[in-house]
């Protein structure tokens, strides 16, 4: 755990110094909200239908910046090789990178979410707190798989394209379910299907995390 925390501390220190990921992610999401808000003149009811999808488009597309950046800094100066030389399990390296990518993404999400509420004139209610486990579960699913695939893609010349090609098909179910869950919360329509669906997302998170944790050792090998 010591190594994972060291990697997390190092990544957060670098991110807060440069703000490379957070800034690009935030600006990109803001752009999405502005464009969609002013392009479509639709009723509030239709907007409520569209809003969950828009929110996750912003989260996921911006999250791609974060994922691409996470291992690009490791490629610089051969640090990816230094990770392979470290006297720690590959799983520890994965855990450290996963925690930093997830925390940075959650921080960005907490910064962009108030803007989303303002732009789409959503009413705050106690029920909105249910978005916390939804966003948390959706984000963890995305980053648990994204972290290992980003480490695979960084070895290639077309890192960004390969990451998208590998990640999208696998992470799609989680994103679709997260959009559905977000729609239920925003629309005030918490049906019986809400909790089983949330459980399904969490189950996928656990599977993605466990598999990635075990396989990361092989990714670091030459």
């Amino acid at each position: 755990m010591r190594a994972a925390l060291s990697i997390l501390k190092k990544d957060l220190r670098m991110e807060f110094r440069s703000k490379d990921s957070i800034l690009s992610m935030w600006i990109f999401s803001l752009l999405i909200f502005v464009i969609f808000n002013f392009t479509f003149e639709v009723s509030r009811l239709v907007m409520l239908e569209i809003a969950p999808g828009l929110l996750w488009v912003a989260f996921i597309f911006s999250g791609m910046f974060g994922l691409n950046h996470a291992f690009a800094v490791e490629k610089e100066n051969g640090n990816l090789r230094s990770m392979a030389l470290m006297p720690v399990d590959g799983g520890q390296v994965y855990l450290g990178k996963f925690m930093s990518v997830t925390l940075i993404m959650l921080l960005f999400e907490s910064l962009i979410f108030p803007i989303f509420i303002i732009f789409y004139d959503l009413q705050l209610s106690f029920q909105m707190f249910l978005l916390i486990p939804v966003i948390l579960a959706g984000t963890i699913g995305f980053t648990s798989l994204g972290t290992i695939l980003s480490a695979v893609a960084v070895h290639t010349r077309d890192q960004q394209i390969l990451l998208s090609l590998l990640l999208w098909p696998l992470v799609s179910p989680i994103i679709i379910w997260s959009v559905n869950l977000t729609g239920m919360v925003i629309g005030g329509d918490i049906t019986q299907g809400f909790y089983p669906l949330l459980t399904r997302v969490i189950a996928f998170d656990v599977i993605f995390f466990a598999v990635s944790f075990m396989l990361f050792e092989f990714i670091l090998e030459d």
């Binding site: 010591r2 610089e76 100066n77 640090n79 399990d89």
Partner: protein, 236 residues
């Protein structure tokens, strides 16, 4: 009998159809300083990658202190210095060393960091970002990073490349000190003069196998040069 620091038995490595190493047999005792000479593409870096556990051999056996080089315990005993500096430009010199000290579980890290920074004459720049360092200063910090956890085995992959005279002088004197401390050192270089000056034993790697394995004391520089350059020609 004391276990050798390193033992390679019939080690081969290929990348598809490309052969990188062929049937390498090599034993290095603890405390030996061995220089590996060979032209570009001879397989020197691949050999060091296999020894460090980053790369697995296609066939053959590698034993580091009697165990697998990829074991975490063995990994903590070695350090690599190469043209890749393994440092983060967006962290200061101290922050980089703190990170590695934490990963390698260095005891009394604060004092140790000061000691290694002093040994590479970088104390005055300890709070500056590595991205602002010159190539020579970065390489000096790399040396500090490698020595931070006091490794038993040092793998040096052409460490003099791109260094200024000051950094070369510091590295040579640090290597001498490591040799006196009884560390095992493997150095790949094109610089015959430095290899002769520092090491007890030399290997010439050519066409992916060891062509010569001899003691520096038993060989005069001209003889090494002749062997080195004849192997160079034979590879063309």
């Amino acid at each position: 009998m004391l276990l050798p620091a390193l033992e390679l038995t019939k080690v081969s490595k290929d990348f598809g159809r490309i052969i990188a190493l062929r049937n390498i047999d090599l034993t290095i005792q603890s405390g030996e300083f061995v220089s590996i000479l060979g032209r570009n593409g001879a397989g020197k870096t691949t050999l060091l990658n296999i020894i460090s556990g980053v790369s697995k051999p296609s066939s053959g056996l590698v034993e580091l202190y009697g165990g697998d080089p990829a074991d975490t315990e063995n990994k903590s005993k070695l350090a690599v210095i190469s043209h890749e500096v393994f440092l983060y430009n967006n962290l200061t010199a101290t922050e980089n060393l703190e990170y590695y000290a934490s990963i390698y579980g260095v005891k009394d890290a604060e004092q140790r960091i000061k000691d290694v920074l002093q040994s590479v004459e970088l104390m005055h720049r300890r709070f500056d970002l590595v991205g602002t360092f010159s190539r020579g200063m970065t390489q000096r910090l790399t040396i500090a990073r490698a020595l931070l956890h006091e490794p038993s085995l040092l793998l040096l992959d052409e460490p003099f490349t791109g260094l200024d005279q000051l950094a070369i002088g510091i590295l040579i004197s640090l290597l001498r000190k490591q040799k006196e401390l009884g560390r095992t050192i493997l150095l790949t270089t094109h610089d015959l003069h430095t290899a002769k000056e520092l090491s007890q034993r030399y290997l010439i790697l050519e066409k992916h196998r060891i062509l010569h394995d001899g003691l520096m004391a038993d060989t005069n520089p001209d003889e090494i040069r002749q062997k080195y350059f004849s192997s160079d020609r034979s590879g063309e």
